[in-house]
């Protein structure tokens, strides 16, 4: 039953994407999370603190937690062959450094990616500047990171090859 194509029902698969987007976007506006002032207010723990984000996270995680419970015994989602859920467990420096950099931008601008995209509808060049900066930097950092990882892998392989062919204990790059 789960053999064959990865996507079992393309029409439904894409429709789900659209409906999930609609619900998500509406949720962000209703909860006030598209307002940088409210988000920065949440992060302003020593000032006039705005706790709204706690309720948003509580509502979202409160619901979504049960979805993960629900799929635990399931072989596959409704319209695709397999669940694609992150499984990594290692805490690597890149995770922490990236989250730290993201946090600074989040605090300065008051937008994370979702609310910034939703706010494009306001037609403001300030929102556009944020989104252009966000997409361009993500693209560039993605390219650099891929190059870096490839070089690291190549170095490791060369070192291994040298060590085995010449019998030397220490290999240079």
């Amino acid at each position: 039953m789960n053999q064959g194509k990865e996507i079992q029902n393309e029409t439904m698969f894409q429709m789900v994407g659209a409906i999930a987007g609609l619900l998500f976007g509406a949720g962000l506006v209703i909860s006030g999370m598209t307002s940088p002032e409210k988000v920065r207010g949440f992060l302003d723990f020593t000032g006039k603190w705005d706790p709204t984000l706690i309720f948003v996270m509580g509502g979202a995680v409160g619901v979504h937690f049960f979805a993960y419970r629900f799929i635990r015994g399931k072989q596959s989602p409704l319209f695709a062959r397999a669940f694609q859920v992150p499984t990594r467990r290692d805490i690597e420096p890149k995770l922490v450094i990236g989250a730290a950099i993201f946090g600074i931008g989040w605090g300065l601008g008051g937008y994370c990616p979702g609310p910034a995209i939703v706010s494009l509808a306001q037609g403001s060049h300030v929102v556009l500047a944020f989104v252009v900066g966000m997409l361009a930097s993500s693209w560039v950092v993605g390219k650099l990171d891929a190059q870096f990882e490839a070089r690291k892998k190549a170095c490791a392989e060369t070192a291994k090859l040298q060590a085995s062919s010449t019998g030397q204990q220490h290999a240079t790059r």
Binding site: Q14, A18, F24, D44, G59, G109, G114, F130, V141
Partner: protein, 140 residues
């Protein structure tokens, strides 16, 4: 000034976000991490995996507009154009390195009880608070 109506609006909005992520997970088996979705749209591969993400992003904007018309939002903008650009660059590079943002690590990761996501979430809330504190003091 925090008004109590935001408790209700926050919860209702949060539940909608949770339902959106749950629908995507149970029906499509995919994670509603918005930075990841945007990154995958910048990859030059077209197909059904590209299209659901495109429809998600279009839905995001349209859903926001509908809610704006029906109930109104809390409208505000980043402090300035320059701040917005710098903040955007930091958000883009940071979420790429960390493999996720508030939705991927915050909502989806925490729901999955992922330790990686917990570490990421605590980190970006901490540095976010620091950035707000500093910018308020430096008159930003």
């Amino acid at each position: 000034m925090f008004e109590t109506v935001w408790i209700i609006r926050g919860l209702v909005g949060g539940v909608l976000i949770g339902l959106a992520a749950s629908l995507l997970l149970i029906a499509n088996g995919r994670v509603a991490g918005i930075s990841g979705i945007l990154n995958q749209l910048m990859v030059p591969v077209r197909g059904v995996e590209f299209r659901w993400r495109l429809f998600f992003v279009i839905g995001l904007i349209v859903g926001g507009l509908i809610a704006q018309v029906l109930v109104g939002g809390a409208e505000s903008l980043p402090p300035s154009l320059g701040t917005a650009l710098v903040a955007g660059v930091l958000v883009g590079s940071g979420t790429r390195l960390a493999n996720g943002c508030t939705s991927g690590h915050g909502v989806c990761g925490l729901s999955r009880l992922s330790v990686r996501s917990l570490v990421a979430t605590v980190t970006f809330i901490a540095t976010g608070a620091l950035a707000v504190w500093l910018s308020n003091r430096l008159g930003g």
